[in-house]
Amino acid sequence: MADELEDQLNEEEIIEDDEDEDEDEDEDEDEDEDEPRLNLERRELDFFKRLSEKRVPLRVHDVLIKGNTKTKDSLIESELQVFKKASSMQEIIEAAAIAKARLQALEIFDSVVITLDAGPPELPGTANVVVDVVESKNPLTGDIGFFSKPEARSASIEGSLKLKNLFGYGDIWDGSVVYGFDQTSEISAGIYFPRLKGLLSPLTARISLLSQDWLKFSSYNERLLGLSLGLITTKYHDLAYGLTWRALTDPSQTSSRSVRAQLGHSLLSHLKYTFKLDRRDSPLRPTRGYAFVSTSQIAGLAPDSRSLRFLRQEFDLRYAFPLGYYGAAVNLGVSLGALFPWGNGYTNMASPLPERFFLGGHSSPVCSFRGPTTLLGFKTRGLGPSEPRRFAGRDALGGDLAVTAFADLSFDLPLKLFRQTGIHGHLFASAGNVTKLTENEFWNFSLQRFRESFRTSAGFGIIIPTKLFRMEINYCYILKQLEHDGGKTGIQFSFSSPL
């Protein structure tokens, strides 16, 4: 078989085969060859080399799908559109690899095998594609993972049950329970349709009940009951609509005046658009490239003027370049966030407390794109405007304008063991500031004062990436902090998701 293909390549035209031409995408080795192994391998290499160099015109005539009892043909066919454009053997092989990856990404098949077969004898230069799928026998799967979801503000443990392909549309139904390390707990259920009735983008819907305990930092508890719909989800763009009922309470009755004024119920009807461009070489340890993320949120999209109304914008910019030796790389990053209410009397209105920017925390800014949230060395919600509580302590109030920046130099450690396991060291410096703009503070805003009140910290540490999470052990030194800030010089641990 391989010989005949070689002949074709030599003549640069396709000769019809009587025998089937099987080309498995996984590139199985040929079997039952009596020729010497070295000769055969050399011929194979030759063959594949010529296959990649010379163009063999071939187009797909028909696509046959086998093995799907529950899954709808239309779903599988929609992932095979790549074959329509292929006009040569190389392109068909590429398309086969893409189609296989896409079908596997649906997570509803145990195995996907794509085979190229000769087309009908009356049509030369055509091939048939045979897609053999094996559907998962057990549609129910359970999972326990360590994640970092965008809605939660820090890492969390999640247990979930998934029911796959209930209606044959590749639909995934899941229920999950999440416990976060910032005293968050969430119960949610969702559905995911990869391609419902020809829609270009997957459709997701999720209903969740989330409870977040901020009593220690800001003297309030937050409870959310929300429905979110993922409208457009592509590689770069994400548009989602959310309808949330939020209740803020203070069972401790020790909150400060500003927090007290914010307790109560509110309805959030918002649209959130995220644009993400990540051209770095690795999300875990970037050494080259840049990334840009913009998150825009507009709330108040309801005819009811009593729902919360605000505009929120976040920018994240990252840039990495290598230094050449010891695997060293420099990562630079800047994050910016702004929040402002809109509607009648917006200059006097206070911005909603849970939407504000709170700086502080232990998650690494290198890997995550969460807007201006992290300043290593400061505790959670550890810097920014604050107000004394009823008795002892202070409530972190957050702000409407926040900026953070960091510079991080990562390098390999001398021991080979560390290099193999991915453990590396880093030196870092970070700066950040957050301020209030609402309730007429906008008129008092001074750029110079904002610049002068930037907090800064620096330090070094070791990063240990594991399959489950990424751990950092850092020694942070606070260079500048203001009164009432919660920065602490010393050793800190931080955990973030590997994703």
Binding site: Q253, R260, P352, K467, L468
Partner: protein, 327 residues
């Protein structure tokens, strides 16, 4: 300097004004009346989005806060802490039986009338008109159910309970009317804290309940109680003494956090209990225990990661492939 002065000002945070009253909620009115009777100068602010909170009404005075569900109520807190004491010089136990009548029979009757006996429009206007419709509806339903539970009303005994509630209210009105006589105030003809809670109830019943309300009709039968109420209204509410009822500049600004009345508060004991202060030793012990457990966990995880470190290269490769094939 201005901040200090402002901080020392009395601020009452209550529920929304309507029906011609500065605040229509039956648990906020007594506090308002109390402060007016004491001729205290205070700002009135509103919370429109927390109808189910039993912390409202509350009074702020600088850093001091008197919540509704602490120490027996705002009025009691203000008296005890010496902030505003209308009963100074008088023993606190006199009129105890009248307090009991108002606090149980009349309060129950007003609660029943507002949430169950009437069509609910008064309650909606007072508590939910500033919340978005779905939230308002659900909270209204929850409150009505809670009131039924508090009053022990079930499907079977509705009529019987209603009759009992109205009967007690009638008895209370008769007794109060007899005691009041032709005086301007209830006890010794000078304003006392008891007048505040009684006027709070009568103002609410006469003005906030619909005209067809049974309770309102019963109250109207006692002309001296009506006169007593209207006198207060004329003297304090309509006299244009705006220094004590200013519309605070904060009021429109906190448009989504004004707070609402707390009918479920009636009859319930204060929910908050002071947390037991942990001793220093316990805190240190807990902190050390946490560090110990965390160190053990980290050591295990580092060990596992060193064992399984080579798997990561594969994971990265797979991820890259996946990204390439996405559109």
């Amino acid at each position: 300097m201005a901040e200090e002065i402002e901080q020392r000002k009395l601020v009452l945070v209550a529920r929304k004004p309507c029906f011609g009253l500065p605040t229509a909620c039956p648990s906020c009115l007594p506090v308002y009346v109390y402060l007016r009777l004491a001729k205290a100068s205070f700002d009135l602010r509103f919370n429109l989005v927390h109808p189910d909170s039993d912390q409202i009404p509350y009074v702020e005075y600088g850093e001091y806060v008197a919540y509704n569900n602490e120490k027996g109520g705002v009025i009691e807190s203000l008296k005890e802490d010496g902030v505003v004491d209308l009963d100074s010089g008088h023993p606190s136990y006199d009129a105890a039986e009248w307090w009991a009548i108002v606090r149980s029979w009349l309060t129950d009757a007003a609660m029943y009338e507002l949430w169950i006996g009437s069509d609910g429009s008064s309650a909606h206007k007072m508590y939910f008109s500033d919340l978005p419709w779905p939230i308002g509806k659900i909270l209204h339903y929850k409150q009505a159910r809670l009131v039924k539970q508090l009053l022990g009303i079930t499907k079977v005994n509705v009529e019987q309970k209603e009759a009992e509630i109205y009967r007690r209210a009638s008895l209370a009105y008769v007794a109060l009317s007899n005691k009041l006589g032709e005086q301007n105030y209830f006890l010794e003809n000078r304003p006392r804290s008891f007048d505040a809670i009684l006027l709070g109830h009568t103002l609410f019943t006469l003005h906030a309940l619909p005209e067809a309300s049974t309770l309102r009709t019963k109250l109207l039968e006692h002309s001296n109680l009506v006169r007593y109420t209207e006198n207060f209204k004329t003297e304090f509410l309509e006299a244009g003494s705006s220094s004590s009822i200013p519309r605070s500049p904060h009021e429109p600004s906190s448009s989504f956090t004004p707070k609402r009345g707390t009918p479920p508060n009636w009859g319930t004991k204060p929910k908050s209990k002071p947390k037991r202060e942990k001793t220093e030793e316990e805190k240190t012990f807990k902190r050390r225990a946490k560090y110990f457990v965390a160190t053990q966990l980290i050591a295990i995880l580092v060990f596992l990661s060193l064992l399984g470190g080579s798997d990561e290269a594969d994971l990265d490769v797979d991820d890259d492939d996946g990204m390439n094939y996405d559109d």
